[in-house]
C-alpha cells in the first residue's frame, strides 16, 4: 500500500474513530468496536475485572472503555436522562435498575442471551433474582456471600472456644468471651456516603434467618412495616449481639461509626485480640490482604456462616452480586453479556480470589484458590433460601434512610422505636416513585 493511501486511511480513521463505536462489522469473525461499561470497581477489583475482560477483547476485538464511580445510582440516572447511557452497567444494587426497567429505559435480556445455555448453567434462584415482573433484565456473573463470621482460629484455640453451630451457641460464646475479659465483636460502619451499610447487613441477615423469605420479600418490597414485630425483633436481636450500650463491641459506638468497614477486621489479628469475631461479606478477604502484616487465609483467619436464628429457616443466606444490564443495546454489549455468563469468564475472577463466587455451575470447586473460598462456594451450593441484599433492592432513598437508621441505633439503642417510625414514614413515600 502506498504511503499516501496509508496516510489518508489513517486520517480517515482519526476523523471517524470517535464515531466508530456502536457499529459492527464481522470481518474475520471479530466484532470490533468498543463497549462502554459503567461500574464500581477500583483497585484490586478493577484489576480482576480487567483480567476477565482480556480474553474477551482478544477473541472479539471489542475494546473496553470502563468508567468507575462510587455513586452509581446518581451517575447512571443522570447519564440516561441526558441521553448518553453506557452500553453495559454493572450495578452493585438493583433498586435503581428496577426503577429504570419500569420506566422502559432498560431492554429485556430474554431475546438477547442464549437462554437454554443460561438455564443449564445457572441455578434457578440466580436467574429469578435477575427477573423483574417475570422477565429477565439483569445478569449476575459472580456472587458475594453475606453473613459470614470471620475469626482467628489460633485465638479461638488458645481460649478453647468452639465454632458455634446454633444461634444459642453463638450467644453462649459471646457471653464466655466477655466473662474472659475479651470483646466478642468488631463492627465497623464507616463507608463515606454509604456509612452504616455493614450494620444493615446484620439486620437483614437476621430478618431472613429469623422470619423467613416471605417476610423478607415483603419487607424490601415496602409491604412490611419497619415497626412490625418481625422487623423490630430483628433489630432487637442485633441489639443483643451488640450488648447493652454496645458493650459486646470493641471500642463501642465511637469505634463502630468512625472505623472504615475494611479496617474492622484489624482487631482480630492483634495480640491479644481486640475482638474475636467480625461479621462481613466474602469480599472482605481482599481487605484482609492489605493489612500489615498480611494475615494468611486458613491459619490466621477462618470463617463460619452466621448460625440460623430460627431452625425453621435453616440454610438461609443473603447474597449479593454485581447485576449487569444492557443500558444501550449494541452488538458489542450483547456479546459482553453473553461472555460474562460463561464459566470461562467467571473462572478468571474466581481464581484471582477476592471473595467472588462463580454462579455458573460449570466452574469447578477446585478452581477456588484457597480452602476458605472453596468452603464459601460450598455454602452457596448448600444454600436453601437465597435472597438478594434487601437494602440493594429497596429504592435508594429507602436504603439511605436504612443506613442512617443503623448509625443512630448503634449510638443509642433506646431510640429504636423512633428510628423505625421514621423508616415507616420514609417507606410511605419512597416506593411511590418506583
Amino acid at each position: 500500500m502506498g504511503r499516501l493511501t496509508r496516510l489518508l486511511a489513517a486520517m480517515a480513521i482519526l476523523v471517524l474513530g470517535v464515531t466508530a463505536c456502536g457499529t459492527s462489522n464481522t470481518a474475520g469473525g471479530k466484532i470490533g468496536g468498543t463497549v462502554h461499561i459503567l461500574g464500581t470497581w477500583t483497585g484490586a477489583e478493577k484489576d480482576s475485572f480487567d483480567a476477565v475482560m482480556k480474553p474477551f477483547t482478544d477473541q472479539t476485538g471489542i475494546k473496553i472503555s470502563f468508567e468507575a464511580t462510587r455513586d452509581l445510582d446518581a451517575i447512571l440516572q443522570t447519564k440516561i436522562a441526558a441521553g448518553n447511557p453506557p452500553d453495559v452497567t454493572g450495578a452493585p444494587g438493583i433498586g435503581t435498575l428496577i426503577k429504570l426497567v419500569k420506566a422502559g429505559k432498560i431492554p429485556t435480556l430474554e431475546d438477547k442471551l442464549d437462554m437454554s445455555a443460561l438455564n443449564a448453567n445457572y441455578g434457578a434462584d440466580w436467574i429469578n433474582l435477575g427477573k423483574i415482573d417475570g422477565k429477565l433484565y439483569t445478569l449476575y456473573a459472580w456472587a458475594a456471600l453475606k453473613g459470614l463470621v470471620w475469626y482467628d482460629p489460633k485465638a479461638f484455640q488458645a481460649k478453647g472456644y468452639q465454632v458455634p453451630k446454633t444461634w444459642d451457641d453463638l450467644m453462649t460464646l459471646q457471653g464466655k468471651i466477655k466473662s474472659d475479659g475479651g470483646k466478642p465483636w468488631c463492627v465497623a460502619l464507616e463507608s463515606e456516603a454509604a456509612s452504616g451499610w455493614p450494620g444493615s447487613d446484620w439486620v437483614k441477615e437476621i430478618v431472613l434467618s429469623q422470619s423467613g423469605g416471605d417476610v423478607y420479600d415483603k419487607w424490601w418490597q415496602g409491604k412490611q412495616k419497619w415497626t412490625s414485630t418481625e422487623i423490630k425483633s430483628a433489630w432487637q436481636t442485633w441489639g443483643k449481639v451488640l450488648g447493652t450500650g454496645d458493650s459486646n463491641v470493641y471500642g463501642g459506638s465511637q469505634y463502630m461509626v468512625a472505623t472504615k468497614f475494611g479496617d474492622g477486621g484489624q482487631g482480630l489479628f492483634t495480640s491479644p485480640p481486640k475482638c474475636y469475631m467480625f461479621n462481613q461479606g466474602s469480599f472482605i478477604t481482599s481487605f484482609f490482604d492489605a493489612y500489615t502484616p498480611k494475615p494468611a487465609a486458613g491459619t490466621d483467619y477462618a470463617v463460619f456462616p452466621l448460625p440460623d436464628v430460627s431452625s425453621s429457616n435453616a440454610g438461609a443466606h443473603v447474597v449479593a452480586g454485581d447485576a449487569f444490564v444492557l443500558t444501550k443495546d449494541t452488538p458489542q454489549a450483547r456479546a459482553l453479556l453473553k461472555y460474562l455468563a460463561t464459566a470461562d469468564a467467571q473462572d478468571i475472577w474466581v481464581k484471582r480470589g477476592g471473595g467472588k463466587i462463580a454462579i455458573n455451575k460449570k466452574v469447578s470447586l477446585s478452581d477456588y484458590p484457597d480452602a476458605i473460598s472453596k468452603s464459601l462456594a460450598q455454602v452457596v451450593v448448600d444454600t436453601k433460601i437465597a435472597r438478594y441484599d434487601a437494602g440493594d433492592l429497596m429504592p435508594s432513598d429507602m436504603r439511605d434512610a436504612y443506613w442512617s437508621g443503623i448509625l443512630k441505633f448503634v449510638q443509642n439503642q433506646g431510640q429504636l422505636d423512633t428510628i423505625l417510625a421514621d423508616l415507616d414514614k420514609k417507606q410511605a413515600t419512597a416506593y411511590a416513585g418506583s
Binding site: A10, N25, A74, Q77, S195, D397, D400, T429
Partner: protein, 345 residues
C-alpha cells in the same frame, strides 16, 4: 491495533456515521462557531439601524435597552425561567402531575429532620464567612509586619489550589479516630491524647462538634483567598494616613479600628459576600465526610439526595425554594451594605 489494513476493511461500516457527521454534527458546529457571533453582530447592527430611524429625542432612552437586551434575555432564560419552573415544580406532587399547593413545604417543614438541616445551614452561613474574614484579616494585618511575609502568605494560600473533595480527604486524616488503647494516628487526637492527656474524640461523628469540624475544613480552604485580597487592600492604604494618626498619639488598636478597618470595608464586604455564597453552596465537604449523617446535613446535600437518590422533584424543588427564600434577606443586606459603602466614597 496491529496495522492500517484491518482498519481499512472497517471503513464501509462507518458510512452511517458520515451521515450523522454531515447532517448533525457539522451543521451544529458551524452554527455555533459562525452563527452565534454572526447573530450577535446582526443584532447590534440591525438594532442600531432601527434606533437611528426613531426620532432623535427618543433615541437615548431606547438605546440602553438594546444593549442590555441580550443580557436580560439570557438572565431570563438561564436564571429566571428555571427559577420560576422550580417554584412551580415545588407546588406539584412528586410525579409532577397534580397541584398540591404548599403541601410539599408543610410536609418538609413538619418533618423533624429538616429543622436540623436549617440549623446547620445557619451555622455555615454565620461561622464560615465570619471565621474566614477573621482569620484572613488577622493574617493579612499580621503578615504585613514581618519580613517573611511572602512564604507565610504562600503557605496559607496553598489550600485554595485543592478541591473541596481533596480537602475532605486530607482532613479525614487530621480527624482520624482510633480507640484510646492504641496509639493515635490522626494529628488532632494525637495532640489531644499526648499533650493534653484527654480521650480521643470522633470529630466527624460526634454531634457535639462535628458541624464545627466540617465548617473548619471550609474555613481552612478559603482563608488564603480572603487573606490575599484583604492584604492587597491593606497595602493600598496610604502610609501618610497611618503615620499622621500615630503622630497624633493613636495607639495601634485605634489606628486599626479607626483608619485601617473603615478603609478596608469595601473589600471586606466583597470577600464577605463571596464567602456567604460559598457557604450557601456548601455541599462537597458534607457529602464526602458524613453524607449528611450525624446531624450534619445541609440543604444543598439534602436537595441532591431528594433529586438523584429519591427522584423526588417536588421535594427537591421545595428545598431549592426554601434555600432561595433564605438567601434573599442575605442578598438584600449585602446589596444595601454595598450601596452604602459606594455612596460613602
Amino acid at each position: 491495533m496491529d496495522g492500517v489494513t484491518p482498519l481499512i476493511t472497517r471503513l464501509p461500516a462507518l458510512e452511517v456515521d458520515w451521515q450523522t457527521l454531515l447532517t448533525v454534527t457539522l451543521p451544529l458546529l458551524l452554527l455555533v462557531i459562525i452563527g452565534v457571533p454572526l447573530a450577535l453582530a446582526a443584532y447590534i447592527v440591525g438594532a442600531e439601524m432601527l434606533v437611528k430611524r426613531l426620532p432623535k429625542r427618543a433615541q437615548p432612552s431606547v438605546r440602553p435597552w438594546i444593549w442590555v437586551g441580550p443580557a436580560i434575555f439570557f438572565v431570563a432564560v438561564i436564571l429566571v425561567y428555571p427559577m420560576l419552573g422550580t417554584v412551580w415544580t415545588s407546588l406539584l406532587d412528586r410525579n409532577g402531575t397534580s397541584f398540591v399547593g404548599l403541601g410539599n413545604f408543610t410536609r418538609l417543614l413538619t418533618d423533624g429532620g429538616i429543622l436540623i438541616v436549617l440549623r446547620n445551614n445557619l451555622l455555615w452561613l454565620i461561622l464560615y464567612p465570619g471565621l474566614v474574614l477573621l482569620f484572613g484579616l488577622l493574617m493579612a494585618v499580621l503578615s504585613d509586619r514581618v519580613k517573611y511575609e511572602k512564604p507565610i502568605k504562600s503557605l496559607i494560600f496553598m489550600p485554595m489550589a485543592i478541591s473541596f473533595v481533596a480537602m475532605a480527604v486530607i482532613w479525614q486524616f487530621v480527624y482520624y479516630y482510633r480507640p484510646s488503647d492504641v496509639p493515635q494516628t490522626g494529628i488532632l487526637n494525637a495532640i489531644l491524647v499526648n499533650i493534653f492527656h484527654g480521650q480521643p474524640q470522633t470529630w466527624i461523628q460526634d454531634t457535639r462538634f462535628n458541624n464545627f469540624a466540617l465548617i473548619f475544613i471550609g474555613v481552612w480552604g478559603a482563608t488564603g483567598f480572603a487573606m490575599v485580597i484583604l492584604s492587597a487592600a491593606l497595602k493600598g492604604i496610604p502610609g501618610e494616613l497611618l503615620e499622621a494618626a500615630r503622630v497624633d498619639g493613636a495607639n495601634e488598636l485605634t489606628v486599626f479600628r479607626r483608619i485601617i478597618l473603615p478603609l478596608m470595608m469595601p473589600t471586606i464586604v466583597v470577600v464577605g459576600t463571596t464567602m456567604v455564597i460559598f457557604a450557601l453552596k456548601a455541599f462537597d465537604v458534607v457529602y464526602v465526610m458524613t453524607a449528611g449523617n450525624y446531624n450534619t446535613d445541609i440543604l444543598a446535600r439534602r436537595m441532591y439526595a431528594e433529586l438523584y437518590k429519591a427522584g423526588n422533584h417536588a421535594n427537591a424543588s421545595a428545598l431549592a425554594v426554601i434555600l432561595l427564600l433564605a438567601v434573599v434577606p442575605v442578598l438584600i443586606f449585602n446589596l444595601r451594605q454595598f450601596r452604602a459603602v459606594e455612596s460613602r466614597r
